[in-house]
């Protein structure tokens, strides 16, 4: 199950940020709410060995580019085998977001989900054609 992540989009420049912001960082324009699938690619990651008070060491922090372009900061349980560009899923545990590395099966599922969207679009086009034929 892929999480949905709350985000916002600038109506002027289409910039998407997550979590949502009131105004675009680049325009004094109110942003519109959007939601993004919680999956993307690692942009960079680090491990803090002496994290601030309230966090346990080692603290893994990653910057993830979500599908749709917004970049998102989250935690991870580990970084073994992780690379810049690795595909990850984002999951909320409580109110905190974590990334997890996507294996082959997960990626296949994501692929089919996307293919599913494409299928929906084909069905919608077919329905609208059918409607036009019916009215015509």
């Amino acid at each position: 199950m892929i999480e949905r992540i709350d985000a916002s989009r600038c109506p002027a420049c289409r910039t998407i940020v997550a979590p949502p912001a009131s105004y675009c960082p680049h325009h004094p324009v109110a942003m519109e709410p959007v939601s993004l699938p919680g999956a993307g690619e690692i942009v960079s990651f680090t491990t803090l060995h002496s994290p601030p008070t309230g966090f346990k060491a080692p603290l893994h922090i990653a910057l993830v580019e979500l599908e749709g372009g917004a970049r998102f900061v989250c935690h991870g349980a580990e970084t073994r085998g992780l690379r810049i560009g690795s595909p990850v899923a984002i999951e909320a545990v409580g109110r905190v977001y974590y990334f997890s590395y996507l294996g082959v099966v997960d990626r296949a599922r994501l692929f089919w989900r996307r293919a599913g969207h494409a299928g929906d679009r084909v069905n919608a086009i077919a329905r609208s054609l059918a409607k036009r034929v019916w009215k015509g």
């Binding site: 940020v17 803090l48 060995h49 922090i61 970049r71 998102f72 989250c74 935690h75 970084t79």
Partner: protein, 373 residues
């Protein structure tokens, strides 16, 4: 716009200091006024990043002015996180350039070493975007993200380490520096991990200190040739690029446009190396080194005291130390000393100097150009 001159410059020794911040500021301020031959300034600009929390003192422009013995002088405080010193210099420059004041004292300082490291780190991290901070992001954490991206672009571990080796070697020649010992490449490469792949010896220390300059409309030995400010998003996640800082690029464009010359004229530079990768990034962002070449130039010795372009002759933030709001001014003090032949033991052949200061995680950056008259 009137020409603005640096008539005097001074700074304290940087390091663990037992004096109060006000006394450190007085040492630097009175030194700069003496060097300028100015008895009393027309106005004072004070830089202190966070005296409210480091010291429990507020209303700090008046606090400092009264302590310095200039209670009647108009004083104001400027803050742009870790670049506050450079921002205060800009405010002082503006007052003189506009003809509002004829002699302005600009003084910056910070006192931090009386607090333990986790507390200092927490206070510095207040300048990070609150959401990123809620995930435990500190300055080293964000710098770690930047460093990993930089290394993925081909910058090597030896290139990052060599910046520390060079700046420690320079600090050894600077009596005002916090660190006056050399480090070897292996020591840097084997120092403990702070925020992978960022290691302890890639990071600047926590320091106390103060620095000051006197800016005048009257001609003096050093002219402010150009000054520029650049900004970027508070949140790192709102930026498309991690391995260059737009705020520096904008500041450099503005400063060189004002000066009417380009980076090829710069003889010596003080660069904001809070983390060694930032020196490499900033050399390219300011145009001093072509894109992608800073690591190679560093390994080839181009940026040493005797290289083509000496960078951080003072030792930089890495070895001179980083007393937050003092730093931007300490860089300018070093540049003044370099172009007037007063940098004993580390003197370069320089007539044009560049100072580069980073505020926060490159949200509010400055480039200042100084020339010998």
């Amino acid at each position: 716009m009137l020409d603005v001159w640096v008539a005097g410059a001074a700074m304290t020794r940087v390091g663990k200091r037992t004096e109060r911040l006000q006394d450190l500021m007085a040492e630097a301020a009175h030194g700069a006024l003496r060097a300028a031959g100015v008895e009393a300034p027309d106005a004072i600009v004070v830089a202190a990043m966070n005296p409210e929390e480091f010291l429990g003192d507020g209303n700090f422009a008046s606090n400092a002015a009264s302590h310095l013995g200039f209670a009647q002088a108009p004083a104001l405080r400027v803050e742009t996180a870790t670049s506050s010193g450079a921002a205060a210099f800009y405010a002082g420059f503006g007052l003189v350039a506009a003809g509002l004041r004829r002699a302005v004292l600009v003084v910056g300082g910070e006192k931090m070493t009386h607090l333990d490291t986790p507390r200092v780190s927490e206070l510095i991290s207040r300048s990070i975007d609150p959401y990123e901070r809620s995930y435990g992001a500190t300055m080293p954490a964000l710098a770690g993200l930047v460093t990993r991206a930089l290394m993925a672009n081909g910058v090597g571990a030896r290139e990052l380490a060599q910046v520390a080796v060079k700046n420690h070697a320079n600090g050894l020649q600077n009596p005002q520096a916090h660190f006056r010992h050399a480090v070897t490449l292996d020591e840097v490469l084997e120092s403990r991990m702070v925020a992978d792949p960022l290691r302890l010896l890639h990071c600047c220390p926590i320091s106390d200190g103060a620095a000051a300059v006197v800016l005048t409309a009257r001609r003096a030995a050093v002219r402010v040739a150009g000054i520029g400010q650049g900004s970027d998003t508070l949140a790192l996640r709102h930026r498309a690029a991690l391995t260059s800082f737009k705020a520096t690029q904008a500041a450099a464009r503005e400063a060189f446009a004002m000066a009417g010359f380009g980076p090829e004229r710069v003889d010596v530079a003080e660069i904001h190396d809070a983390f060694t990768p930032f020196e490499l990034i900033s050399l390219e962002d300011t145009g001093l080194v072509p894109p992608g070449k800073a690591g190679r130039a560093t390994l080839d010795g181009e940026t040493t005291l005797h290289g083509r372009l000496p960078v951080n002759p003072s030792g930089g933030l890495k070895a001179r130390g980083h007393p937050l709001a003092a730093t931007g001014l300490a860089q300018i003090v070093e540049c003044v000393w370099q172009v007037t032949g007063r940098a004993e033991g580390r003197q370069t052949q320089a007539r044009v100097a560049l100072a580069h200061s980073i505020g926060g995680l490159a949200t509010n950056n400055w480039v200042t150009l100084l020339t010998a008259a």
